[in-house]
């Protein structure tokens, strides 16, 4: 039996994906890790959520390919706004191609996780990616 580390207790997290099932699985896993999860199925909606309270979310998970406003545009908007630009944004990508990771990181994504989400690893992957940031150093204790 795999245990989900409760690393994100009381963390506010935003998940953006236009696929309902993906959104639900990510939400449920994050909830198991203790997080309070807000979901958005469009980039526009997500951006409104973020702007309405810039300090609310500890991190954002965003799909890249979405109708209307995609993950790249959402990231651009977040990075444009000084109040939101320091929120770590982690990309959810379906396929990795040569240079995508470098380009994604260069564009401002904190890191990326490939889809489909592996429920047994998802939370550990997030911890692993976020622990590099000094303000999240406490995550190490959760592993």
């Amino acid at each position: 039996m795999i245990s989900i580390p409760r690393a994100f207790v009381d963390w506010e997290v935003l998940v953006v994906d236009d696929e309902r099932d993906n959104l639900e699985i990510a939400r449920r896993l994050l909830v198991m890790a203790g997080a309070k999860v807000t979901t958005s199925s469009t980039g526009k909606d997500a951006l409104e959520q973020i702007k309405s309270n810039p300090t609310r979310y500890k991190f954002i998970l965003s799909d890249l390919s979405m109708p209307e406003m995609d993950g790249w545009e959402l990231l651009y908007e977040i990075k444009q706004e000084p109040r939101t630009q320091d929120i770590p944004v982690i990309a959810l990508t379906a396929h990795a191609m040569i240079g995508d990771r470098e380009r994604g990181i260069a564009a401002g994504f904190h890191n990326y996780i490939t889809k489909p989400l592996d429920p047994t690893k998802f939370i550990r992957q997030l911890i692993n990616l976020l622990k590099d940031l000094p303000e999240y150093a406490s995550l190490l204790d959760a592993v």
């Binding site: 699985i25 651009y76 959810l92 990795a96 191609m97 470098e102 990181i105 564009a107 401002g108 429920p119």
Partner: protein
């Protein structure tokens, strides 16, 4: 095809075009050259033949002049002996003329004597003349005629000999032949007789008594002279019949000549046959007048002789010119034909070569798949037809190739679409089954069923993934995407997943990560995971008890992945087959192991794509060890620059976000 032609076909099949041309040319050239050479030799011979005839004419011309002078000398001496004292100066002037003429003949003889083989006979003529000149003062009327006759006969026979040796006697044309006959034989003969008639006539005039034997001799000479003259005239008739222009040229003069000569007989008759009661002074006058008359007649006749000779020489010259002209025409035609043949053959060869080159280029284009191999041909011959046929085949092939490429593309598209469509729901199923299990709200029985559903869903997903991967590898659609990989994290993660799988069969899984391995490598993490997962699942599948070893280590600049199991092992004879698609060692329908046999095939291809090698050591009943060697690929990426780079590239990335390489989530 008739049998007899097959050797020629075999021969032609073996020759290249240039060789074919050369062979055919040589086969044509040999007989043509032979015929042409033979013709040239013949023409040359004919020209030389006729040219030699002309040499005879050149030689005879001064000789006949000499002949005339000797006849004149006879008559003059005869007149002198018959009492014409005044003839002494005439004799001396004739002798001087003869001496001069002998020098003229000498010169001709110097150049032509040996060619015509008459030098010896000419020498005799000279000797004889010298002797005769010596004895002239002591001659009697009888010895005078005898010795002169002998010399004249000698000269006449020399004229005939020149004719014989200079081919004149063999002249091939009728007109020239009869003119030759006149010039060489009949006319000199007639002139000789008339000359004798003149001398004998003068002698008879000088005789006081005109005996019967004198008369008889004169009558006989007259007859001989007349008959030779007639014979000569007949010769002309034959020549005229053959060559009518000669008639206009010679007929008048020859008739005049005949009259002139006949007049010698007439005047002899009228002078001699008169009663001999004339005074001696009158007799001398008579002799003188007769001499003058007959000499003029003979001179005129010799002039005629020269005219005939000139006509004949002219014919010979015309004939030679004809030969030379004919030869020139033939040579020019032959040269033109040769040039035309070479020109046309060169064109033929280059045309064939052009067609073949076009064909070869088209073939190369087809082979290299650079277009249809469409031919642009200027030629319309059989070879071009073959090339056009080839072109049609090529077009058909190209169409088929395009269709097949299109079919493969469609298949790939279909596979990509299908796999995406299949995986999306499967991934959701896996996610939710996990969540059900994680929720902890189900009893043990429900949890077991959820776990079985999860395991089977995962197997279905991995089968779909494998099929898709194989197809993408086969069509070159799968790319290795290296990025920074932390091997210890990946190894631990894989271990965590695969340990569960091993535990299901009560197997142990042992992990060994070498301390010397670098913390980070530039590798395709998902493909490395796929390789290890495939190898370990394969090991679990064929192992019933014991521990499976999963080793990551470094050997020099190589990254080594090793998976060892204590399973059933692989027979030596099958070891080379296990990396084939869909292969299983036990392929019977009752086989005890599940799986499609795609795992190892994918591993092998992924390893090759990553520039690595895979090795297998195995013993039946003892187990198998797969060893993979990959390049170490230390990362050049520096994490410290991350933020700076981010700011730098940010704008650019935003503007190119719709690029092909942007991931489709």
């Amino acid at each position: 095809m008739p049998r007899f032609i097959s050797p020629a076909i075999i021969l032609m099949n073996r020759l290249k075009y240039l060789q074919k041309f050369l062979l055919i040319s040589v086969l044509f050239a040999i007989p043509l050259t032979t015929v042409l050479t033979q013709y040239l030799v013949n023409v040359e011979h004919d020209i030389n033949f006729s040219a030699k005839e002309r040499l005879g004419v050149v030689y005879n011309a001064p000789l006949v002049e000499l002949f005339k002078l000797v006849g004149k000398h006879t008559a003059a001496v005869s007149a002198f002996l018959s009492g014409g004292q005044t003839f002494e100066t005439e004799i001396q002037s004739i002798q001087a003329a003869i001496d001069t003429q002998i020098e003229v003949v000498n010169k001709v003889n110097d150049s032509l004597g040996s060619v015509l083989a008459v030098s010896e006979a000419w020498g005799e003529v000279k000797t004889q003349w010298a002797a005769l000149r010596e004895m002239t003062p002591s001659l009697t009327p009888v010895t005078n005629i005898e010795t002169h006759s002998a010399l004249s006969s000698k000269i006449q026979s020399l004229i005939t000999q020149v004719g014989n040796n200079s081919n004149l006697i063999l002249d091939p044309d009728i007109d020239t032949y009869y003119l030759m006959s006149s010039v060489i034989t009949t006319l000199p003969s007639a002139l000789n007789y008339f000359s004798q008639l003149q001398s004998n006539g003068i002698a008879a005039l000088g005789n006081d008594t005109f005996s019967a034997s004198d008369e008889t001799r004169l009558v006989i000479l007259s007859q001989l002279a007349q008959s030779n003259l007639d014979l000569n005239q007949r010769n002309y008739e034959y020549a005229y019949d053959y060559n009518p222009t000669l008639r206009t040229q010679l007929a008048d003069s020859s008739n005049r000549n005949a009259q002139v000569l006949t007049s010698i007989i007439d005047s002899l008759n009228s002078t001699i046959m008169k009663p001999a009661d004339a005074e001696s002074s009158t007799k001398t006058e008579t002799i003188k007048s007769y001499y003058t008359q007959t000499s003029q007649a003979l001179d005129a006749s010799y002039d005629f002789y020269n005219q005939v000779t000139a006509a004949m020489d002219n014919l010979l010259q015309v004939r030679i010119n004809g030969f030379v002209q004919g030869r020139t025409v033939i040579l020019v035609i032959a040269a033109l034909a040769l040039a035309a043949t070479i020109y046309v053959f060169a064109g033929f060869y280059l045309s064939v070569k052009g067609t073949i080159a076009a064909l070869a280029q088209a073939a190369e284009r087809i082979v290299n798949q650079r277009g249809t191999g469409d031919l642009v041909l200027e030629s319309r011959d059989e070879l071009a037809q073959a090339a056009i046929a080839f072109n049609n085949v090529a077009k058909g092939l190209d169409l088929a190739r395009r269709e097949s490429v299109e079919a493969v593309r469609m298949k790939d598209l279909f596979l990509a679409t299908m796999s995406h469509e299949l995986r999306t729901p499967l991934n959701a199923m896996i996610g939710f089954l996990h969540l059900m299990i994680f929720s902890g709200q189900m009893d043990a029985d429900n949890t077991h069923m959820a776990e079985r559903a999860l395991a089977n869903t995962q197997r279905l997903l991995s089968l779909i993934n494998n099929i898709l991967d194989l197809s993408r590898i086969a069509t070159g659609g799968l790319e290795i995407v290296p990025s920074t990989m932390e091997i210890r994290y990946v190894a631990a993660s894989l271990y965590g997943d695969l340990k569960l799988l091993a535990q299901e069969k009560s197997l142990r899984l042992e992990l060994d990560v070498d301390q010397t391995l670098p913390e980070k490598m530039n590798q395709d993490e998902s493909r490395i995971s796929q390789i290890v997962t495939n190898l370990v699942t394969n090991a679990i599948k064929f192992t019933e008890s014991g521990a499976i070893n999963m080793v990551f280590k470094r050997r020099d600049e190589r990254f080594i992945i090793q998976v060892a199991d204590p399973g059933i092992g692989i027979p030596q004879s099958k070891q080379h087959l296990i990396f084939d698609d869909f292969f299983q060692v036990d392929s019977t329908s009752t086989r005890s192991h599940q799986g499609a046999g795609l795992g190892l095939a994918i591993v092998k291809r992924l390893v090759l794509l990553m520039n690595g090698t895979i090795n297998l050591t195995s013993e039946v009943g003892k187990g198998s060890t797969f060893t993979i060697e990959l390049p170490l690929n230390l990362p050049s990426y520096n994490p410290g620059d991350r933020r700076k780079q981010a700011e730098h590239v940010f704008a650019k990335s935003m503007s190119s976000q719709s690029d092909q390489s942007v991931p489709v989530a």
